[in-house]
């Protein structure tokens, strides 16, 4: 750390200021404690919700309605769901979401009713920022966190990171408790609003000693017009797709399964036909999703009369499921003082092995944020941080400041050879090689849709080499943006390794996880695949419904 470090003391530090982080901050303030949000980008535009349109799982408090809603989700969860968590997030969301009405301007529907659960992303996140500020939360924008800080009593007690703007190079927050709300990881797929979602929180959690769960449920792809990030699902609900020979591609057996498109894309461009879109929807579209209409206008495509090429964008763990394992009803983790909210957490309790989509994931983000905030606030009050206590960084992957050139050039050379038989490269080039490996392994729709032991073993070897190279690489400059970039690469690589190892450990197909080398679908005893470890990745199966 240099001498240009801005330091702060607080009760609850929230890392990530998207949908989950904002609700966490608002709830922490409501619980009467100090709250700081450290956001990589700008709280209000950052995170995948900001450019989307999250509905929320929103069920009125009538016993029959809630029982039916939970029963449907429990069936889809195939033994991995937890009805108590579902009940908890439905109830929290229903009670809390209307509070945003102080800052969000709702337009009533045609009957004059206000649909509280349907919020458009840019306006929702703008409102959440204003609400968090009005509640007295401190927002640190453009302040990516790089490392958690630990107290010698074993508690997570803050974090440090870099400042991309402003008068300091680095920041350090000492906190009574920390909530990770860093989102899922989409491996830089160009998913709309997803470029900041690089798995930072997953890496920080594992370095602190937390375990992950459900990382094999990360094989999810969304259709978008070719070369664009426009992963907005609504308009594609009327789509028909044609392969390069003009043959219509069969509709998927399960919603969201685009594996047939993935196969067709290997043969050449796949074209989308939206001519079945009803006239009324075409007229309404600009007022529902203005970013969809402007995309087609700027591409020079009339999507309702012209077929256009599409691509599949990897969602990783965003519309996937896996993340930090929640160990109790308080959204806590295996590590004291560390809590999780939103997509950084495994959503298996509320979705099982299938996607939560926008509605369940948004409700989970809101509700887990509220729950984590209250637990973190209690924990901070019970364990006040002594001003004099010494805090240590809990991990440093991708942040090496070692100048042991012999050692790191050996690693680099081995890595370069693994990939391209090339000569020893400078670290900047090693980092772009890592980007290529991540893209080829994690963003290839066929690789992810059709997994088997051989492809997973090959992926695992390449990703291990990438990790080894990054682990000891020194960023070409010590500037805040370079350090952040290397740390993000390390986080994405680590996340890819947990996804791959978990996919190898689950030898049967289940939900979105498909094994081409297994004839069984599901297992007799529903089980979670737990994973962790930074340098040495491990997995273990744990029967659902058992503890530890």
């Amino acid at each position: 750390m240099t001498d240009r470090v801005r330091t702060y003391d607080t009760d609850v530090l929230i890392i990530g200021g998207g949908l989950a982080g904002c609700w966490t901050a608002i709830s922490a303030r409501r619980a009467g404690v100090r709250a700081i949000v450290a956001e990589k980008g700008y709280c209000g535009t950052s995170g995948v919700a900001a450019s989307a349109g999250p509905g929320h799982w929103f069920v009125p408090p009538e016993a029959r309605l809630r029982e039916e809603a939970i029963a449907r989700r429990m069936a889809g969860a195939q033994g991995l769901g937890d009805a108590r968590w579902m009940e908890r997030i439905i109830d929290r969301t229903y009670r809390t979401l209307p509070d945003i009405g102080t800052h969000y301007h709702y337009t009533p529907d045609d009957s004059g009713a206000v649909r509280r659960h349907a919020l458009r992303g840019p306006e929702y996140l703008r409102a959440l920022r204003e609400k968090a500020l009005a509640a007295g939360a401190v927002l640190l924008d453009h302040s990516p966190a790089l490392q958690l800080l630990g107290h010698r009593d074993g508690r997570v007690s803050g974090a440090q990171g870099v400042s991309r703007q402003g008068d300091g190079d680095e920041w350090l927050v000492r906190a009574g408790a920390v909530v990770l709300a860093t989102g899922g990881c989409a491996f830089r797929s160009h998913l709309l609003g997803g470029s900041n979602n690089t798995g930072d929180g997953l890496l920080m959690a594992v370095e602190a000693g937390a375990a992950l769960s459900g990382m094999e449920f990360s094989s999810f792809f969304t259709v978008a017009p070719a070369n664009t990030p426009l992963s907005r699902a609504m308009i594609f609900s009327f789509a028909r797709y044609y392969d390069t020979q003009g043959r219509e591609i069969a509709k998927p057996a399960a919603p969201n399964d685009h594996s047939a498109i993935a196969v067709a894309l290997q043969g050449g461009p796949v074209l989308c036909d939206l001519s079945a879109t009803p006239e009324i929807v075409r007229r309404q579209l600009p007022q529902i999703s203005p970013n969809v209409t402007l995309t087609f206008r700027r591409l020079g495509i009339d999507p309702f009369t012209q077929r256009f090429p599409i691509s599949l964008l990897g969602e990783g763990t965003i519309r996937g499921v896996g993340g930090v394992r929640v160990t109790g009803e308080d959204a806590g983790t295996d590590v004291p003082g560390l809590y999780v909210a939103g997509d950084v957490a495994s959503r298996e309790p509320v979705t099982g092995p299938v996607t939560g989509g926008g509605a369940v994931n948004a409700a989970w983000a809101l509700a887990s944020g509220c729950i984590a905030a209250e637990a973190a606030a209690r924990s901070a009050l019970e364990n006040p941080l002594d001003q004099r206590s010494i805090l240590e960084p809990l991990g440093d992957a991708g942040l090496s400041t070692r100048r042991d050139r012999t050692n790191s050039s050996t690693t680099r050379s081995a890595f370069a050879n693994t990939l391209s038989k090339g000569p020893t490269r400078p670290d900047a080039s090693a980092s772009s090689e890592v980007e290529i490996v991540l893209r080829e392994e994690m963003l290839s729709p066929t690789r992810q849709y059709f997994r088997n032991a051989d492809t997973l073993a090959a992926a695992s070897a390449r990703l291990s080499a990438a990790w080894g190279a990054l682990r000891d690489a020194t960023p070409p400059s010590a500037g805040p943006r370079e350090r952040q970039r290397f740390r993000e690469l390390a986080a994405m690589t680590a996340t890819a390794r947990w996804c791959t190892a978990s996919a190898a450990a689950r030898t049967e197909s289940l939900g979105m996880h498909r094994r081409t080398d297994s004839s069984t679908n599901g297992s007799d005893v529903p089980a979670y695949v737990i994973s962790g470890g930074a340098d040495t990745v491990w997995t273990r199966r744990q029967a659902a419904g058992t503890v530890s």
């Binding site: 609504m234 529902i288 402007l294």
Partner: protein
């Protein structure tokens, strides 16, 4: 990817510098610059926060197609996202009212016909 910043429209309010989630813009003594276009995630959100309507983001994530656009292609499109979203001076115009609530009805229509 971010394509252009109209230097005549820009008022140097620096809102884009603050609100871009990817830290693409850089403050200068005059108007901001597009300092890191390769970091742009094509989310269009800078356009919403630019009350001067000076910014244009092309929907392709790579700059190939955008490079062929001329100012006369771009100028008529400036400000359309902010207007169609009903932000700021457009907030009272019913034509641009936020009808996001229709989304679930559209999904239902697609599913059930």
């Amino acid at each position: 990817m971010i394509t252009s910043l109209d230097t005549e429209r820009c008022t140097a309010c620096n809102q884009c510098v603050a609100t871009c989630p990817r830290d693409v813009f850089e403050k200068t003594e005059h108007i901001p610059t597009i300092a890191r276009p390769q970091d742009c995630q094509t989310c269009f959100l800078c356009e919403l926060y630019c009350t001067a309507d000076a910014l244009f983001v092309h929907p392709e994530a790579e700059p190939a197609m955008a490079a062929r656009l001329t100012p006369s292609d771009i100028t008529p499109l400036l400000g359309e996202y902010r207007r169609e979203s009903g932000w700021d001076e457009w907030s009272e115009n019913p034509r641009y009212a936020n009808q996001h609530w229709r989304m679930e009805d559209v999904f239902r229509l697609a599913r059930d016909g």
